[in-house]
Amino acid sequence: MNGSTGLSISGLSKHYGSFRALDAIDLAIGAGEFMTLLGPSGSGKTTLLMTIAGFTRPTKGHIRIAGRDLAAVPPHKRNFGMVFQHYSLFPHLNVAENVAYPLRMRRMSRTDTEQRVAHALDLVQLRHLSDQRVGNLSGGQKQRIALARAIVFEPDVLLMDEPLSALDKNLREQMQFEIRSLHDRLGITTVYVTHDQREALTMSDRIAVINHGRIAQLGTPTDLYNRPADSFVAEFLGESTLLPIERSGVDYTLSGQPLRHDHSAPDARYLMVRPEKLEFWEPGLEPTHNRFNGTIEQKVFQGDSLQIRIRLASGQQIVMRRPARRTVLDRIGEGGAEIALALHSDDTVLVPDGAA
């Protein structure tokens, strides 16, 4: 199932009256790439996926695959596999018949069909369920069968619409790993929609953060996490504290304190602080770190880590996260104790205001 093709989207818009569900989206997805569309509900990520699948007709724009424009092609002629949010397995067919369905529609011979179905079920390790009724399966099994059905006909692109949202947390994490490893084995171009930022970070080659029908930022998980383009991406992806900053000449200050920083956007308005990037202040950190003084307001034990809320001298609250280790526990005083924090200049990220 190799020889996957890339997908190129240009100027894709979908208007409902004056509402722009998609606003001139440009997105090039490489062959074999795992691309995640991440955004809050109502951001347009699902509309974008449905437009790619062919269920929503765009107002304008192009969806090209291998030079062919698919914007006006009906869904059944697109050769895209799709995994739906609620699996959408046909209840009147058994597992093997469900997986064979796309092959039946392609009038494939009986022997080829049997072979391919067996192979696809092997890939998801559920061949022993071939004769089962769909209604008897668990959520995770249904999800795998839906996946097998979506890849059995070697589609050009695999589309997934929040496929894990109905599963419980442990199973979801296991399936994230399974889907990703299946993707790596098949090398199939994948477009994955989710509103779960952790899932996006775990699985994707690249993530497109969608907001208000536009791409707020496109990049690798590391890029997006460490260098968010604006305050919206910073808040949506991972935990963060945003502190308003002022501009003085060429530099930025936080409540009058100049900030040492390696990267800055032109119109930075906020300092973004990731809780795990904050350290305890040590002498000798001056050349590379910013120092913040404050008092401990609250400590929350969260099993693997300790969340510490600190009131800065300037009155703003900041959140720090440290592993719940003996050495850490010993260093942190009780509520009201004074604390000095250090933030490396490379982690001192200044971001402009993004439309929330």
Binding site: H76, F80, M82, H86, S88, P91, H92, M105
Partner: protein, 302 residues
Amino acid sequence: MTAQSDTAPAGNAVPDDNTRQLAAAGRGETFRHFALTFPALLLIVVLVFGPVGWLFWLSLIEDGQFSLAHYQRMWTAAYFEIFSQTFRISLLVTGLAILVGYPLAYLMSQLPRRIAGLMMICVLLPFWTSLLVRTYAWMVLLQRRGLINDALIGTGVIERPLALVNNLTGTVIGMLHIMLPFMILPLFASLRTIDLTYMRSASNLGASPIRAYWTVFFPLSLPGVFAGAILVFVLCLGVYVTPALLGGGKVVMVSMKIQQNAALYFDWGAASSLGVILLAITVVLFWLLSRLTRIETMFGGG
């Protein structure tokens, strides 16, 4: 109590054992639940089992004595023909009701809720008119010099009036009209619940709209078709007014024979035995049908 029980070992919790009380509470609850269902059970016994039992009893009495005469009398070609005709007509009307009702129910299930609601009122409107009125209306429409024949002759489609009433045709048309809502209502309810994501899914997997319909939507709609068909078929078996008025005496169904026996000959035993046989045949038919199709397991869990 005394200091003795206070110092008893923790494992030996005899004074604290409430197993018996909990079991008693459980039995009490079961009894109260049964008590709650009692009025409904009583109603069923009084209204269903009572009359049916009485029917059985009457059918076995001839001239005040126990006898199988009523059943023996039915072992003739004439009676066989009546039963056969009853089932044939019922089957025909059920089949036609599926053919006419399905497209309508399908259309309604795909329309926006408001428009579907309006259509539903149109379907139900004749339902609220008297059965007798509707049947006489059909006589007016279908007779030799009725509206339909006049219109067809007027437009030159036919030269001589068609025999549309006082025969099987009239009976079937009239029954179909009366039965249609009983087909459309359960069918519509069932089609409405079919998740259209299945159709998207089929389309995504390469099925054209027509193939998606026949391979996915249609099989999923069959339980609704069965539900409607069973309802219509059973109602058809017992229909009296329509075949009596529109059949012109040429169509004799079991219900009419029952009426004859009861009202004309005052022979309640003969009438009852016909009812019993009709009931028995119907029950056997449905038992066979349920064995053959296993509807629930086939389509269960949409």
